[in-house]
Symmetry: C2
C-alpha cells in the first residue's frame, strides 16, 4: 500500500506539472536576473476606507475594539485590496507572503491566496496574468512576461480569503516604475457575505465588487466577511464612521429571518445618522440553488428575503435615499451559476453584475456620482 | 511564532466552518440513521465508450498497451463519468474514495474530487447538490436533503481530475432506488486538452462535454487529458476502435505547431478509416488570455491555430464529413473567461458552449443525430 501511495503521489506531482502546460511563465524560480523588486509598504494599498492600522488589513482592527472577533479577523483578509502602478517593464513578477491557512473545497487557491494583474488597454482594464500560490506561505511568481516596452498602467489585486503579510513587485531592473493613485472614483463600500468577500470567484479580480469597479470606474470597496455579515450594532458603528459616497448592503444570506427583523432598521438608521444624504442600496439574497430540491433551504431563503423587503419598505417611507435591488434573476435561470448551491461561480457573478450594475449606475447618476 | 501559527491554523478551521454557512446538509457524519447505501459496481457507470477494464476508468487501459503512460494514467481519472438512477428518497448521500492526490491552484477541490448531482424537473436537468471532498481519501457527504417523496430521475457526476476507487449512493432506507440507462443518445467522444478534461470548471457537471450533453440530450463522452492531447498515432488507433456516432477534436492548445503539421492528417485519417461516414468536428484553440500582453504566447497560439486550419482545410478537400469550428468568440470579448489565462472558468465555458453547441447541433442534424 505504501508503494501504491508513493506512486500516486508521484503521479500527482506529474499531473500538477501537466496541468500547468502553456504556463511556463508562472514557474517560481528562486532568483531571476535583471529584476528589481519594489516593496509595497502601506499607503500605496488601495481598496480600503482608511490607511490607519496594519498595511494589508481592510479596517484598522485596533480602532474598532467592540466588533465581534470573527468579523475583525475576516477584515484582516486582503479581499478587494489593490495596488496600481505604471511601468514599461517587459515582465511583472510578485513575491508575497500570506498566512499558513489553505483554501476550502469550494475555492481555487489562486482566488484564496493568489495575485491577479490587469493592464489598461484602450481605456479598458484587461486581464494580464495571475500569481500562482505555491505550497509555502511565501511565493514568487511571474504574472506576465514577454511584453513590449510601452508605458503601461497596471492594477494588481491581492488575495481574497487570506491575509497578506508582505508584497513586493518585480520589474526589469532597467524599467521605470511608479506607484499611482487609484484609478477609481468616489468610495462605495459593499458590506456583505462570503459572496461579496469573493467566494467562489476563480481569481481575485473576479470578485464582484472588483468587477463593478472596472466596469464603472467607481471604487467599490470590499467589506465582505464570509459567514459573518449579521448587521451587529457594533458593525453599524464601524461603517458609520467610514468616509463614503454611497453604500451597498448585501448581507441577507448571512442573517437569520429574526436577525433581519430585529437588526435591519437599527443598522441602516445608525449609518444614515452619519451619512444623511448618500444613496444606500440594499440587495436581496440571490436564490440558493441548493434550494432547488431542498424545500427547507428554499423556504428559509424565501422568508429571509421577504423579511428584508418588509424592513426596507418600512424605512423607505421616511428615507428617500434608500433603494432595494430584488433577488429575481440574480443567478440567471439555468441553475448553473454556483459552485455549491450557495456561492456563485464566475458565471453566477456575471449574471449578478448584469442586474446590479445597471440598477446601481441608474441610482448613482441621480447623485452625480457618475 | 509557533503560537502565532497555531492561532492562524485555528482561525483557518473557524473560517472553513464559516465558509460553509447554509451548507449544514453537506457535513460529513460518520453514520446516518435510516439510510441504505447502494454500491456502484461497474455497468451502471455511464460516460465511457466501454464497460471493459476497471469500473471507474474511462478506457480499458490494459487493452491499449501502446499509448503513452501519461495518457493512460489520465484516462484513469473519472472525468465525465456519471451514474443515473431513479428514487423517491428525501435525501441523497454519497460515500466515495479517490486517490491521495490533492487539487491544483487553479481548480477547486469540488471539481477535482467532488461529486455533482442533477435531478430532472419539467424535462430539464437541474442542479441539486454537490458532494464536498474532505481531507481524507474517502468521504461521506449529503448531496441533497429535505426533498419531497415524488419519484425523481437523478444524474450523478464523478470527480474530474482524480481517479474514483469506490462509490456508494445513500438513500432513505424505505425509499425506492433503481439504476437507470443513460438518458443521453448516441455516442460522441470529445478528445482534447485539460479544457475538455474540465479545468477549470467549478464542479464536475460544469465540464463542457457534460453541459453539452444536458443541453442537447446527446452523450458527449469526455476524453480530455490534461496537457497530453498530442494526437499520437497510438491514441488515434485507440479512438478508431471506439464505437461512436460523431467525434469532436479539441486538442490544439496541447500540440506544438510542428505536432499539428506532422500529426493532424494521420490522426484524423486513421480514425476516418474505421468510421467512414461519421461527422468529425475539429475545434480551434480558444485564444489564451495569457497572451493579452505576452506577445510570445499570443504569436504561438496564433501559429497553432493557423497550422491546424491549414491541415483541416487540406483534409476537407477529400473528406466531406470533416468540419471546423473557429476560435473567434470562444471566450467572449471581455477577457474575463479564464482562471489563469489558459483554463476557462464557468463564464468562459458558457461562452464556448454558446458557440460550440449551435454549430455542433447544426452539423449533427445533417446526420440525423438530432
Amino acid at each position: 500500500m505504501r508503494i501504491k501511495r508513493a506512486i500516486l503521489v508521484l503521479c500527482s506531482v506529474l499531473f500538477q506539472t501537466l496541468l500547468c502546460w502553456g504556463q511556463s511563465s508562472s514557474s517560481n524560480p528562486s532568483s531571476q536576473p535583471g529584476l528589481h523588486y519594489k516593496e509595497v509598504t502601506g499607503n500605496e494599498i488601495q481598496g480600503r476606507t482608511t490607511h490607519a492600522g496594519a498595511a494589508f488589513h481592510r479596517i484598522d482592527t485596533a480602532q474598532f475594539a467592540d466588533i465581534p472577533a470573527n468579523v475583525k479577523q475576516l477584515y484582516t483578509h486582503s479581499a478587494g485590496l489593490y495596488v496600481t502602478f505604471s511601468t514599461n517593464s517587459t515582465q511583472i513578477r510578485a513575491k508575497w507572503c500570506t498566512s499558513p491557512a489553505k483554501t476550502y473545497n469550494n475555492l481555487a487557491a489562486i482566488a484564496f491566496e493568489g495575485m491577479d494583474l490587469y493592464i489598461k488597454r484602450e481605456g479598458k482594464w484587461v486581464y494580464a496574468g495571475v500569481g500562482r500560490p505555491g505550497s509555502q506561505d511565501c511565493t514568487e511568481s511571474t504574472l506576465v512576461a514577454e511584453m513590449d516596452t510601452e508605458q503601461k498602467e497596471c492594477l494588481l489585486y491581492l488575495p481574497l480569503y487570506d491575509s497578506t503579510d508582505k508584497l513586493e513587485i518585480g520589474v526589469d531592473s532597467t524599467a521605470d516604475f511608479e506607484f499611482s493613485a487609484s484609478p477609481f472614483n468616489h468610495r462605495i463600500p459593499v458590506y456583505g457575505t462570503s459572496i461579496v468577500h469573493g467566494a467562489s470567484a476563480s481569481r481575485p479580480g473576479l470578485a464582484y465588487p472588483a468587477r463593478l469597479s472596472r466596469m464603472s470606474g467607481l471604487d467599490f470597496i470590499n467589506l465582505g466577511i464570509s459567514g459573518s455579515a449579521k448587521m451587529e450594532p457594533q458593525v453599524a458603528d464601524m461603517i458609520a464612521e467610514m468616509q463614503m459616497d454611497a453604500l451597498i448592503i448585501d448581507c441577507v444570506p448571512n442573517c437569520s429571518p429574526d436577525n433581519i427583523t430585529e437588526r435591519t432598521a437599527g443598522f441602516i438608521q445608525k449609518i444614515r445618522s452619519e451619512h444623511p444624504d448618500i444613496p444606500i442600496i440594499a440587495i436581496e439574497g440571490a436564490f440558493f440553488e441548493s434550494g432547488n430540491f431542498n424545500r427547507k433551504i428554499a423556504e428559509d431563503m424565501h422568508l429571509r428575503n421577504e423579511r428584508f423587503r418588509e424592513e426596507i419598505a418600512k424605512l423607505q417611507k421616511s428615507d428617500p435615499h434608500l433603494f432595494l435591488i430584488g433577488a429575481e434573476g440574480l443567478m440567471g435561470d439555468d441553475h448553473e451559476g454556483t459552485i455549491d448551491g450557495t456561492h456563485p461561480n464566475d458565471l453566477g457573478f456575471d449574471r449578478m453584475i448584469q442586474k446590479i450594475l445597471p440598477a446601481t449606475k441608474n441610482i448613482l447618476k441621480g447623485y452625480n456620482l457618475l
